[in-house]
C-alpha cells in the first residue's frame, strides 16, 4: 500500500486538516499524524493523511548525488 504523493501545504485548518496542492489539484487532507507542519512545506499524502514531511535539504543532497553520477556516466553520451 504505497501510493503516496508529495503535496505542498497551502493552508492550515482546524482539527488538523489542511489544503494541499498536487500539480494544481487541491485537496483537503489530515495532518493529524504529524507534528508541526507549516504552510509551504511539502508532505507525503496517503489515503487522505500526511505521513511524513519532505526534507528539502535531504532532497537537495539526493539530487546532488544523482547529478554527480549523471555527470560521470553521461559525459561521453551522444544525445
Amino acid at each position: 500500500m504505497c501510493l503516496a504523493l508529495p503535496a505542498k501545504v497551502l493552508a492550515l485548518h482546524e482539527a488538523g486538516m489542511a489544503t494541499v496542492d498536487v500539480g494544481g489539484i487541491t485537496k483537503e487532507i489530515s495532518l493529524g499524524l504529524l507534528e508541526e507542519v507549516k504552510v509551504g512545506e511539502y508532505v507525503i499524502v496517503h489515503v487522505g493523511y500526511a505521513l511524513s514531511c519532505i526534507s528539502a535539504e535531504e532532497a537537495q543532497k539526493t539530487l546532488a548525488l544523482f547529478a554527480e553520477i549523471s555527470q560521470r556516466f553521461l559525459e561521453d553520451d551522444q544525445v
Partner: protein, 371 residues
C-alpha cells in the same frame, strides 16, 4: 510536479543504469527482492527491468496487501456485505479480489450488496454519519503505510461516540513478512529494496534483523525510477563489498526513527494477532493486527462474530513459490492461460501490483525476443 519530475528524469535513469552496469561483477547473479508492491508496479510501469544488466534478477516480494490477504477474509467480507443494513466500504483494489467460488465484492455489489469504494478512511466515517440507520463496516487492509490512517479514523469514531461504525481489521506487518521470506528453505534473495512509505512510518531500524540475523542488506527506496535505480546500485555495492546494513536512499522522506506519532497511535489502537495466514506464505506469527480491547466497541469481528475460515489456494497456483522468489510469473503454467487479471487464480494476479499482474499488464511483450 515538484519532488516527482526530478526523480523521473530519463537522463538520470540512463546514467544510473550505466553506473549499475559498471558496478556489477560479471560472473555473479544478484537476486534482489523488491518487497513492496508499489516498487513492483514502478519497475514494470517504467520498464526498468530492461535497463538493468541481465545478471540482476528482480524478485517481486509479497508487499501487496491485497494479494496476500487470505481468501477466507474476502469470504467473510462478502458475507458481511450481504448482511441486512450493512454498508461495506473498502479501497478500490479490493473490489475484484476473488474469494471462494469466484465470488468477489464487485460481484456481490452487482447482486445487491451495498459495497462502496473509498479513497480514505475519512470517507467511511462520513458515510456512517450520513446513514445513521445503517451499519458501516470498513474493510481495512494494508501494510504500515495504511494502518495509521485507519487508527486515526478509529480515534475519531471514539471521540464522537460514533455508534454505527466498525472496522474489520486486516492490516499486516512488513518486518515479520520479510522474516517469513528469509526463514524459508531455499530462498534466493541477496538483498532487499525496502518499502519507502512503510519505512516513513516504521523507521530504518525495523529492518535491522535482516543484516544482523541473515546477513542480508536492505536499502530503503523511494518510488520514482531514479530512486529505484539508485537503490539497486546501493544494494549491488553492499553485496560486492560483503557488507550487510540498512541503508536509506529515500532520506528526503524517511527518517531513522520513522513517524513516532503514527507508531504510538498504532500501538494504542491495535494489538498483534498471535498468527495470521498469508496467501502464498502460510501462517506467520505476530504478523498482523486486530483492534485492541480499548477499541472493542468498533471492532467488526466482535460486533458481528466474524469467523474467518482457512481456504486453501487453487491447485494450479504457484504463488507461494513466486512470492518467495523461487519462481517467476512466466514459470507458472497457469500464467496468462487459466490465470489472468480478469480471472485471477491466486494472490499474485489479483492486484495490479502483484508480481503476475504487473508482468501481465506491462511486461509480457518481453516474452518474445525483442530486437
Amino acid at each position: 510536479m515538484k519532488y516527482i519530475a526530478e526523480y523521473r528524469d530519463g537522463a538520470k535513469v540512463r546514467a544510473m543504469a550505466k553506473a549499475i552496469a559498471a558496478e556489477v561483477q560479471p560472473d555473479r547473479i544478484y537476486h534482489l527482492m523488491e518487497f513492496c508492491g508499489g516498487h513492483t508496479h514502478s519497475l514494470h510501469r517504467y520498464g526498468l527491468s530492461q535497463l538493468l544488466p541481465p545478471n540482476i534478477r528482480m524478485i517481486h516480494g509479497p508487499g501487496c496487501p491485497v494479494c496476500v490477504l487470505p481468501m477466507g477474509c474476502i469470504d467473510a467480507a462478502i458475507r458481511l456485505a450481504a448482511s441486512t443494513g450493512v454498508i461495506l466500504c473498502t479501497y478500490a483494489d479490493m473490489l475484484r479480489v476473488p474469494g471462494s467460488g469466484g465470488q468477489s465484492l464487485m460481484k456481490a455489489r452487482a447482486q445487491g450488496s451495498d459495497v462502496r469504494m473509498l479513497y480514505s478512511p475519512m470517507d467511511a466515517l462520513r458515510i456512517a454519519q450520513e446513514n445513521p440507520g445503517r451499519e458501516l463496516v470498513f474493510f481495512a487492509i494494508g501494510f504500515e503505510t495504511t494502518t495509521p490512517p485507519t487508527a486515526m479514523a478509529l480515534k475519531d469514531a471514539q471521540r464522537v461516540g460514533l455508534k454505527n461504525f466498525s472496522v474489520f481489521c486486516n492490516h499486516v506487518l512488513t518486518p515479520p513478512a520479510m522474516r517469513g521470506i528469509l526463514a524459508q528453505p531455499g530462498v534466493m534473495v541477496d538483498g532487499f529494496v525496502g518499502p519507502g512509505h512503510v519505512s516513513a512510518v516504521i523507521g530504518e531500524q525495523a529492518y535491522a534483523f535482516a543484516p544482523r540475523e541473515y546477513a542480508k542488506p536492505v536499502v530503503i527506496s523511494g518510488f520514482e525510477p531514479v530512486d529505484l535505480m539508485a537503490s539497486i546500485r546501493m544494494l549491488i555495492r553492499q553485496i560486492n563489498q560483503g557488507r550487510a546494513e540498512v541503508e536509506n536512499e529515500y532520506t528526503r522522506v524517511v527518517s531513522p526513527q520513522g513517524n513516532l506519532r503514527a507508531q504510538a497511535l498504532m500501538a494504542e489502537v491495535f494489538e498483534l494477532r498471535p498468527r495470521f495466514d498469508w496467501r502464498g506464505l502460510g501462517s506467520i506469527p505476530e504478523s498482523a493486527l486486530r483492534l485492541s480491547d480499548g477499541f472493542a466497541e468498533w471492532d467488526a469481528e466482535r460486533r458481528f462474530g466474524i469467523q474467518v475460515e482457512t481456504v486453501p489456494d487453487h491447485k494450479a497456483c504457484e504463488c507461494a513459490d513466486i512470492l518467495r522468489g523461487l519462481k517467476q510469473p512466466a514459470d507458472c503454467k497457469a500464467f496468462a492461460t487459466a490465470c489472468s487479471p480478469e480471472n485471477p487464480l491466486g494472490a499474485c494476479m489479483v492486484s495490479s501490483e502483484g508480481a503476475c499482474a504487473a508482468y501481465y499488464a506491462y511486461g509480457r511483450h518481453l516474452e518474445i525476443c525483442e530486437p
